[in-house]
């Protein structure tokens, strides 16, 4: 700061803004109130709208269309009871009656097979051979003359 400036500042320090002017300007400034803070979450209008929206969602009959409307079950697809099946555990294990005869045929013993086949041919037995055993019998057994 030059000598001039310091001399000037010293001389001008007696000049200050008068109080009545300050007071008048501050009075004007007091007229400008701070802008109210609008908190969207806390505002009354937004809160009531949100409450109404929740109530409408809860009370609206569309919530219960599937449950309460008359005849609603007619359009609800096939009845699940139609295809109901008993549990697999309840079905009893059935033994194959041809198991023993098949085992003999697989071992090369055709005696029992041929015996059964002849009886079938003569119409003595009630239980016809299954297809695979009958084919084997035609291949390996001879028809013996009637006694």
């Amino acid at each position: 700061m030059s000598v001039w400036e310091s001399q000037y500042r010293q001389a001008a320090s007696q000049l200050v803004s008068p109080e009545h002017l300050d007071e008048r300007i501050m009075q004007q400034a007091r007229q400008y109130k701070p802008a109210p803070r609008t908190n969207r979450l806390a505002s009354g209008a937004a809160g009531s709208f949100a409450a109404v929206a929740v109530m409408v969602l809860l009370i609206h009959p569309a919530q219960y269309l599937g449950a309460l409307t008359p005849g609603g079950t007619q359009n609800s697809g096939p009845n699940p009871l139609e295809n109901w099946q008993p549990q697999p555990s309840s079905v009893g294990v059935q033994r194959d009656q041809w198991f023993g005869l098949r085992s003999e045929v697989r071992a090369g013993n055709y005696v029992s097979l041929c015996d059964h086949w002849r009886r079938e041919q003569r119409g003595i037995t009630d239980s016809p051979l299954p297809r695979d055993l009958a084919r084997k019998a035609r291949q390996h057994c001879r028809l013996l003359p009637k006694p």
Partner: protein, 178 residues
């Protein structure tokens, strides 16, 4: 936010804070920073309309926040008050003494400043009182920087002459014939 916090804010940040919150304490702080400087400048430029001009300036600032666009608030304030003073200068003067307090109290330096032409006085005050750079003052006055600098030095020289008389001239020997 207390007044301690305002001290750390610069003028521009404080102004922005005030306009977003309308906090009276923030405005008071801002006003205190500039009130005396503005008053001194205004009173020495045109004492009769000082109060009116200052009121108008602060009312403008309160009503319409200035868009600074990177400029300093200090520059904005003095550019604005300069415009207001020029406008009031064109109006007819009010009845009254029109003499500032310092003239009545007899401060020689301030009285000497009053004797300068308006343009020189404005340049001197804007530089010494308002601490504006000469480039900004040249913009305000609408003159070139060189001319502004010349006027500033001329003003200081003129002040010196008013206060201490003309520079001492070298002795001249005059031949006397008898």
């Amino acid at each position: 936010m207390s007044s301690k916090h305002y001290q750390h804010l610069n003028d521009e940040a404080l102004l922005e804070f005030y306009h977003s919150t309308r906090n009276l304490a923030a405005f008071r702080h801002l006003y205190t920073r500039y009130k005396d400087s503005l008053y001194r400048y205004c009173a020495q430029m045109n004492f009769t309309c000082t109060n009116r001009v200052l009121e108008e300036l602060w009312t403008n600032l309160l009503e319409h926040p200035p868009v600074l666009q990177g400029r300093l608030l200090r520059s904005w304030l003095f550019i604005r008050i300069n415009k207001l003073l020029r406008r009031h200068l064109e109006e007819p003067a009010e009845a009254g003494t029109g003499r500032p307090e310092h003239q009545q109290q007899g401060e020689p330096l301030l009285e000497a400043i009053q004797q300068l032409p308006r343009s020189q006085r404005n340049i001197l005050l804007l530089h010494m009182e308002c601490r504006l750079p000469l480039a900004t003052i040249a913009d305000i006055e609408g003159i070139s920087l060189k001319r502004c600098r010349d006027q500033y030095h001329q003003g200081k020289e003129q002040l010196r002459e008013i206060l201490h008389g003309p520079r001492r001239q070298p002795w001249r020997i005059v031949e006397v014939t008898v």
